[in-house]
């Protein structure tokens, strides 16, 4: 639901990178995103298109790599993918886990020239 502010932050980073690396156009951004964030890629794309219209990144593509949830179990100590719907430890079934992946939002790289 807060895709607009994320798109704005992506844009300010993109502008910085384009400036320091002398890019005339930006054609794609690769983003790795955790599946458990309340962020919809589809609406992020929509906000991105609106923000970058008429800029050097107009028409650029957002490419997503979605990461499923994994974590470290506080009961058995193992690091496992987390099982839905309760996001529990795959090894022992405990619901007491510290998330490792699934909540991240990284800009990995920018393509342009």
């Amino acid at each position: 639901m807060h895709e607009l502010s994320l798109a704005e932050r992506l844009w300010s980073t993109t502008k910085e990178v384009a400036k320091t690396r002398n890019l005339k156009t930006v054609s794609a951004l690769k983003i790795s995103i955790g599946e458990c964030l309340a962020v919809s890629p589809e609406s992020l794309v929509y906000c991105w298109e609106a923000i970058t219209k008429g800029t050097l990144a107009e028409g650029s593509k957002l490419e997503f790599e979605v990461h499923g949830p994994s974590g470290v179990c506080k009961d058995c100590g193992k690091e496992t993918p987390l099982e839905k719907p309760l996001y529990s430890c795959k090894a022992c079934g405990s619901s007491r886990v510290d998330f490792k992946t699934g909540q991240e939002f990284f800009l990995e790289y920018i393509e342009g020239e």
Binding site: L37, P85, S95, L107
Partner: protein
């Protein structure tokens, strides 16, 4: 065509500010709680009942987060509790920076418990660390039995769940015990309370819990 490696954590700005808030709370010895839940679940009512229940020896301060209006801040002010209203103007959650700014307007040298009432929303606030030491979710019986499974992260990362409006149980066709079982299934460490902010039932047990966290 060039590919430029960036690897930038877009969420780190909030996390860093949250950590700064957390250090501040620790230095001042303040228990900061992030009070979350659906619109109308009874977050402000819980605060009103808490102040009424004669928590006289506990010194509270409150940050109220809403899209618009200062209705909730006015309700808190009636109890003589220091309060700051944040309006997010469409924003679906509070972030650590908004909280950091609001802190400057509160008499925190004289505060034991800071309650941050988040924007009514079961989704987005779960993604934003404010620097709190406890997350509390208020869920009301009128919302139905399935909300925990539909919005798992709100409950997964909470320390305490308060099931409110139990005075309405006879009219709602839901089972408070089933809700409790689901909540504990998704988060075994959750402290679970049933209260009514209308009748006052259960409020004392919640107050005891709060005191024990100090």
């Amino acid at each position: 065509m060039t590919k430029i490696k960036v690897i930038k954590n877009i969420l780190s700005a909030n996390k860093n500010t949250a950590d700064k808030n957390r250090r501040f709370f620790r230095e001042k010895g303040i228990l900061a709680v992030n009070l979350m839940g659906s619109p109308g679940s009874g977050k402000t009512s819980l605060l009103e009942k808490t102040f009424e229940a004669g928590a006289g020896d506990l010194r509270f301060a409150v940050i109220e987060g809403d899209l618009a209006t200062s209705h909730d801040a006015k309700r808190i002010k009636r109890f003589g509790v220091p309060v700051v209203q944040i309006n997010t103007h469409g924003g679906c959650h509070l972030d650590a920076n908004m909280v950091g700014r609001a802190l400057k307007e509160l008499p925190l040298a004289h505060t034991d418990i800071l309650v941050i009432e988040n924007v009514g929303n079961l989704v987005c606030p779960a993604d934003f660390d404010l620097g709190e030491s406890k997350r509390i979710v208020v869920l009301s019986v009128t919302e139905g039995e399935d909300k925990i499974e539909k919005y798992p992260f709100m409950f997964k990362f909470a320390g305490c769940c308060i099931l409110n409006k139990i005075d309405l149980l006879p009219y709602c066709n839901v089972s408070d015990e089933r809700i409790k079982r689901t909540a504990l299934k998704i988060n075994k460490d959750l402290d679970f309370f049933k209260v009514s902010c209308k009748t006052g039932e259960g409020i004392n047990r919640w107050l005891e819990w709060l005191r024990a966290k100090l």
